[in-house]
């Protein structure tokens, strides 16, 4: 998928609006996994806005995100970085599988390199 | 009898002087188009709109009537739009009873800053009324040419 379309897709999946970001950095300030992440939440939002999706897709940081939602809770502008990160993870998963994650497939995939967060996101998605 | 494809409805829009008329002016200032068959009548407040005026409009061949006033709570006269809302609710249920499609009448709150909303509302309302076709039920044929 083209970068532009991919960006749109990530924004659409996340349901968040990164343009609302006023770059205050409260997400990064609040992030408990800061030290583990190569890309920090506020950079993450900025990279989505500027379409730097390739870098994000190949980042390790997206798997280090704990999905604790502290950044969503504290964000004064309702940008919700955690949702964007989840959407990028989902984009990675979808590209790999070329489809949505099937609930039946989860146990088999558990042993593999699939990160736990992706399973959580998938479950959350199917719970809705 | 006009063919439906070329049918252009006559729409009367009653706008309160303080919000909606200014909103209509603003859509002009911003050059936002809406169909020319919408004709605006200025009234001081939406509560000035006597239900008789709407009946008269239908009787004389209007195909749709829309009342625009200030948003609830923003009325220049404090409570005027609340009166208007109640009166129109009653009138619309009566029109419904008479068999006038309820899509032909509408109340919309448009503030002086909502030029875009005014134009969008008018576009949509004209579309709706065009689809309904000519108002034949209430038109007084003695008034028709």
């Amino acid at each position: 998928m083209e970068t532009k379309n991919l960006t749109q897709e990530v924004i659409r999946i996340s349901g968040a609006n990164p343009k609302k970001c006023m770059k205050c950095g409260k997400c990064t300030a609040t992030c408990p996994a800061f030290d583990q992440m190569d890309i920090h939440p506020h950079q993450f939002v900025d990279m989505v806005i500027n379409g730097r999706l390739e870098e994000l897709l190949n980042s390790r940081g997206i798997y280090n995100c704990l999905s604790c939602f502290a950044c969503m809770e504290r964000c004064p502008r309702s940008v919700e970085p955690a949702r964007l990160i989840e959407a990028v993870r989902m984009a990675v998963v979808r590209q790999k599988e070329n489809n949505h994650l099937k609930p039946d497939a989860i146990p088999a995939l558990l042993d593999d390199e699939l990160p736990q967060q992706a399973i959580t996101s998938a479950l959350r998605k199917y719970m809705k | 009898m006009q063919v439906n494809e070329t049918f252009t409805p006559t729409i009367v829009a009653f706008c309160c002087n303080w919000c909606s008329y200014a909103g209509a002016d603003l859509s002009g200032t911003n050059r936002l188009n809406y169909p020319a068959n919408v004709k605006i009548i200025r009234i001081p407040c939406s509560c000035r709109l006597n239900p008789m005026f709407i009946l008269r409009a239908f009787q004389r061949g209007a195909d749709g009537v829309i009342l625009c006033g200030c948003h609830p709570g923003d009325c220049h006269y404090t409570t005027g739009n609340y009166y208007a809302r109640r009166r129109m609710t009653l009138l619309f249920s009566m029109l419904d009873f008479l068999g006038i499609e309820k899509e032909r009448t509408r109340v919309e709150w448009v503030s002086a800053a909502e030029g875009a909303k005014f134009a969008a509302t008018m576009n949509e309302f004209v579309d709706t009324v065009t689809k309904l076709g000519k108002n034949k039920r209430l038109e007084d044929l003695r008034c028709a040419k």
């Binding site: 506020h42 | 188009n33 004389r60």
Partner: protein
Amino acid sequence: MQRIGVFVCWCGSNIAATVDVEAVANALAMEPGVVISTNYQYMCSQAGQEMIQNAIREHKLTGIVVCSCSPRMHEATFRKTAQQAGLNPYMVEIANIREQCSWVHKDKLTGTEKAIILGRAAIAKVHLNAPLTAGQSPVTKRALVIGGGIAGIQTALDIADAGFEVDIVEKKPTIGGKMSQIDKTFPTLDCAACILTPKMVDVAQNEKIKIYSYSEVEAVKGFVGNFHVTIRKKARYVDETKCTGCGLCTEKCPQKKVPNEFNLGLDTRRAIYIPFAQAIPKVATIDADYCSMLKSGKCGVCSKVCTAGAIDYKQTDQLIEQEYGAIVVATGFNPISMDKFDEFAYSKSPDVVTSLEYERLMNAAGPTGGTLLRPSDKTHPHTIVFVQCVGSRCDSSEKGKSYCSKICCMYTAKHAMLTREKYPDTEVYVFYIDVRTPGKNFDEFYRRAVEDYDVHYVKGMVGKVTPENGKLKVQASDLLGGRQMHIDADMVVLAAAIEPDKSARPLATMLTASMDTNDFFTEAHPKLRPVESPTAGIFLSGACQGPKDIPETVAQAGAAASKVIGLLAKDNLTCNPCVAKSDEMMCNGCSACEKVCPYGAITYMDKEFRGPNRTTLIRRVASVNPAVCQGCGACTVACPSGAMDLQGFSNSQIMAEVDAICK
């Protein structure tokens, strides 16, 4: 039959580009009653107006229709034009063929067609117009200022200076407002009390100004020039005329554990108190919630020690009725509650304070006598973290405010600077999103904090504060440094967003003045009429209209005062003649109109009428006070007999317009 003149304006190419003005003029010339129909490039120009005036005289016109821009733009202009030519100004109708025709339609054919119909509607209406004369209503030459902060004080002083009487209603026991709580003022760092208290004394000594302290506005009736206001003077259980303000009672009162609101609860006061030394009026007030005498009838110490005999436990609320010509709202602001920002541990640690609390901690007249001490253990803080934009610039969620509170950047720079100056061994961090310093000498002030006072300005935000072993563990981001910071702070100061005072909303309802979604009062025009409310006779001063610093507030207070003076200088106001009028012969006395009138403009009276066979009948009929009626027309629709009609927008006129449009 009316003799009508029609004048079609080109408005340069604004109208002429999409409307064939020639064709419109020709078509309208065929309408019944039209004796002249013409077009011109700019009707509103001097030449255009003269053309109209000449036509009025030449053709003995009884009514004119101008097809031009919106009546909101030039109705007044053309009415004046008509009046100068001897035609009643209310015999003028405007057909709006610019904003509602040429500007919204692209096709010249449809534009022209619509312009003709709009012109016809206006002609149909003008046929039924009647000459109207504007009435006069007298102006009460006294102003009311609601709120006794710096905004209210300045407005009152300026109005009084022009020779008019002013009353200030202040809900607290003293005037002075927020400014009296502030230590120093930016960007000059002069002491707030030094510049405010002389003004407060001026107010107290000014013969034209009367202060109703510890009072609130209870009800407002009437209209511009003639407001009737009920003021509730709350019982303070102290006779203001007798109290000398010696303060003996405030020292002897045994009830010592009352949170002192003047110091934002950082210390306590007695149940009988004077908020601060320079209070105006300097009169004690008993806090009924805490006074044992008022609660249980046991105590009476203050009464025993008062040599002036001013204590009066039997005092009750008093209602004062007063007439005013103009009302100025100066209700000010408050910092928002920090309840929803638990990540900063405001409720968990007393060492996390808001900026206003910090202001009291720095103030020589504050709870610590001007020595900066941590509220928890009264020790000197050595590391202080300031957090900006707490609750400001939030997404329009329920959490905070969407607007920038405007004053925080500057007062935070001030606090940081003062702290560093007094205690150079203190490390001061300021976490900012943007530093916004548009104002005279403002940016220079902020730069001084960075360059001369070594305040650590960090672009980023504090994520969370955790109280631990007497310290505050601050986790924050340093966006430019690309790192997360962990600071062991002694104090955290939150620049809380400001919001309008809670009393503003009910007051706005009483005044029928409009507010925005944040409860700030709306101005009549955001650029051109910034100190007037859309409701005539209501003026806005200070932060009740939007966040403001002191210089701006004073400037706006002066502007509001000048508007009030302009109003009070008039002996009479010209009323809008487009008001309701009842036809007594048709009125059946049902009172429906009286009930819907939002202004109480309609009264009923018994009137004698001539009956058949030389008898007289007494009938109950409605009568409209034209000075009070604002011309909304609610009554005209409520009237079942059709007796009530609105002049200028009569039933028959609107019907005629409907007919013309639907033809």
